[in-house]
Amino acid sequence: MAHSRTAASEVTRRVTVLRPVSVGVNIPKLEAADKVTGRALYLDDLAVPGVLHGRTVRSTVARGRILGIHFDPAFDWSGFTIVDHRDVPGENIVALIVGDQPILASDQIRHADEPVVLLAHADAERVEAGVRAVRIDVEPLEPVLTMEDALAAGTRLYGEDNIFKHISIERGDLAAGFAAADLIVEGEYRCGHQEQLYIENNAMLAERTAEGGVSVRGSLQCPFYVHKALMHAFALPAEKVRVVQTVTGGGFGGKEDYPSIIAAHAALLAWKSGKPVKIVYDRAEDLAATTKRHPSWSRIRAGVKRDGTLLALEHEVVMDGGAYVTLSPVVLSRGAIHAGGPYRWGSSRIHARVVATNTPPNGAFRGFGAPQTLFAIECHMDRIAAALGLDPVELRRRNAVRVGDITPTGQTLRESVGAHEVLERCAKRSRWSEKRARFARENAAAAVAERAGRIAKSARRVRKGIGFALIYHGSGFTGSGEVKLASRAAVDLTPEGRPRVLAASTEIGQGTVTLFSQIVGEALGVPAAFVLVQQPDTDCVPDSGPTVASRTCMVVGGLLDECAREIRAKLELFAEDSWADAAGFTRVARRFLKARGPLRVEHGYKRPPEIVWDDDRYQGDAYGCFGYAAIAVEVEVDLDTAETKVVHVTTSQDVGKAIHPVMCAGQIEGGTLQGLGWALLEEVRWKDGRVWNNNLTNYIIPPSADTPPMDVDLVEMPYSRGPYGAKGVGEMPMDAPAPAVLAAIEQATGCVLSEIPATPERVLRAMLRGRA
């Protein structure tokens, strides 16, 4: 009897200890309450007594030698703080990868809108007038403004050949592959610049601290990148530099590296004036001066068999890095690794170069080089399908990777390979076959009716099309990147007995606070809303690496999961019991703190033994795993105005595990729209190396009225090393839309485009060419 009673009470306890479940559940977004009430304070919302307004005086030419700086003697310079390169206490270099970019130009101008002089004044209007009263005298030199000119190396901007980085990835016997091919298909593809266009412009606030250091708050993605840059610029030890992220109104990569420059500028003005200094860019300055997506130019040669088997791939890609190295080598690397698409190639040679030009440096933008090469290879898959007379989805189906297949870097895909799953689900959900056939019939019938004059003169001549794309996207840093980063994250207990996340990962809209709270809350058996998340502050969080590369949930979330599990084990061991809710957790936590003192558990990234990468040969496991996505885009093209309207989007994306399905789908929808904008609308226009459409009237991003309904299908093929199976999400949706848009336009118009954005001008030119 006694025995059975014990068993019964155990059963009862197990039943009552119902743990709050939050992973996989759409809890209300924790960051959002302050954002919908206006309480969230972005940098420009902070009220700082005695603050000075900082402004940047920039070069107006793309290349030249600085002869002198002229301050208008008629202007009243009282109350101004003026900074130039001589005021940099440490090295006049933006510390990132290669130290070639000055914080303030001293002698050479290497791109238009390069920062030369900084001004600060208590009156925002006076400082604005001050900028107009400074003249930079420059002896202009002939600039290099295109990738072609850079490659010709007539003018040397960098090294012997103007090449920042060169990557070659070879696998298999290429010559034999081409020799065995029934058909060789060649093509050339181009993409332009794209602006991240976060709606909150770049903004920083710097102060000189009483301890002789600098403290910076601002809109940024990577607190420790800024921290490192400031240590170098001011020759200060780590503990004298503090960087705190404020609520950030979007990043998309645009606040990965450039904030280091603005932080240094604001800090230099604060250092010299002894007063807090705020630098808030306006839209024109942000668009003209800050980083953008690298333009690219791909040439592809593919050898295929008649049944669609892919035997040989040669993909040569050139990207425009702009005037300084910045992140270009890493962008190129991701682009090169993705250049084969999610397909089995018998053999491949990928040759990638990023060149120097006299344009503002290009940098990180969602996808980080992969959207460019995936655009090219996906367009090329459609060319191959057309050449073989195969349905584009069928060609992809015959070649898409499965578990056990090998990528161009020689990586064997061991697990979590969702290529076929997303392809089949997207094809079915979008009713691909039926629509592809119906649009072809309807377009043909409309053409016949128009020729026969059976259509009213005033009727719009509209054609329909549907296009398909399949991509994969490596999650986390490339190759040995995660090993070098050696990210750390921690969970501790506050004196009140609440769990607190300590990580440098920033919330920039994607829901970091909610995700981390869900992961830690789940592991600790408390509701997500009970978990506190420390605002990233280099004084009190460990370096979790940058908030980039779709790594926040998978890598840092994984570390936090480990930390939380260890905390739970420690507390359970101490209490010899568990807890049912937040109140129970707090009771145990407080008893622990009283008896044992503070509790903080920190974990660092450890390379899984099976992941091996050779950086010299560019061979091995480029990523722990890949996410996979398929998209079907339907368009209508007006044959008279050449305008393309996207009517509907269906996409299936393998994310491993959606920790928060609503936020996950939100990432996919947002990324997809950025991809549609890149494909159709967004074009940075240049004149003499300067952006001339640096305003929202002429640089157009999609508004709601031009955005189609999106059907997002979350596919979950769990990754054994991600928390609950999660893989990267953020960047992947950017890769797929553009090639699918061009394929849809091709079905609608019969014209093959190979360059984006497919503006009405480009579509019209293609249609006129087709008619000639």
């Binding site: 960051e31 954002k35 919908v36 206006g38 609503v662 939100g666 947002g670 729209l673 991003i701």
Partner: protein, 180 residues
């Protein structure tokens, strides 16, 4: 900074009198003079809609409205949406359905959405209607789908929502042990 004039305006139900250059932007009057920083600036040229407020019940880009133009007007900003710290149905829908990501466009987006819901007088606007009504508010994060969903959910009749939320009739509870 030149001549100043007195401008009287009611913001979120509260009367204010500010001395300001007549051409100072309403956006700056709100943010600087009244310290209502919920209204954001995204472009300063009336393209992005982040600074949208209601001026006598109509949506305006406050970066394009000179202070003198707001004299005698009733202005509502995002801070004036909820009452006593409670979220409105619209704000709640944005939080629950994923309508806010980075949040910088959200205040302006909410003002345009509130104006649409008011104009719809209890009718739930269609998906394309919402997209058209919000076309002046740019969002770079969401792809708009969840904003449209949130606005439509908030516009649905409270009665209908109550019905939907009503619990199903209580089932007879059978103790698990007894059943065994």
């Amino acid at each position: 900074m030149g001549e100043r004039i007195a401008v009287r305006l009611t913001v979120n139900g509260k009367a204010h009198r500010v001395h300001t250059p007549p051409l100072k932007r309403l956006l700056d009057v709100l943010r600087e003079d009244l310290r209502l920083t919920g209204t954001k600036e995204g472009c300063g040229e009336g393209e992005c809609g982040a600074c949208t407020v209601l001026l006598d019940g109509r949506t305006v880009n406050s970066c394009l409205v000179p202070a003198v133009h707001a004299d005698g007007a009733k202005v509502v900003t995002v801070e004036g949406l909820g009452k006593g710290g409670a979220l409105t149905k619209l704000q709640k829908a944005f939080v629950e359905l994923g309508g806010a990501q980075c949040g910088i466009c959200t205040p302006g987006m909410l003002m345009s959405a509130a104006a649409l819901i008011k104009a719809a007088k209890g009718r739930v606007p269609s998906d394309p209607e919402v997209r058209e009504a919000l076309a002046g508010n740019l969002c770079r994060c969401t792809g708009y789908q969840r904003i449209v969903d949130a606005v439509r959910a908030a516009a649905s009749k409270p009665a209908a929502r109550k019905v939907a939320r009503k619990r199903p009739p209580a089932r007879k509870r059978v103790p698990a042990r007894a059943a065994r």
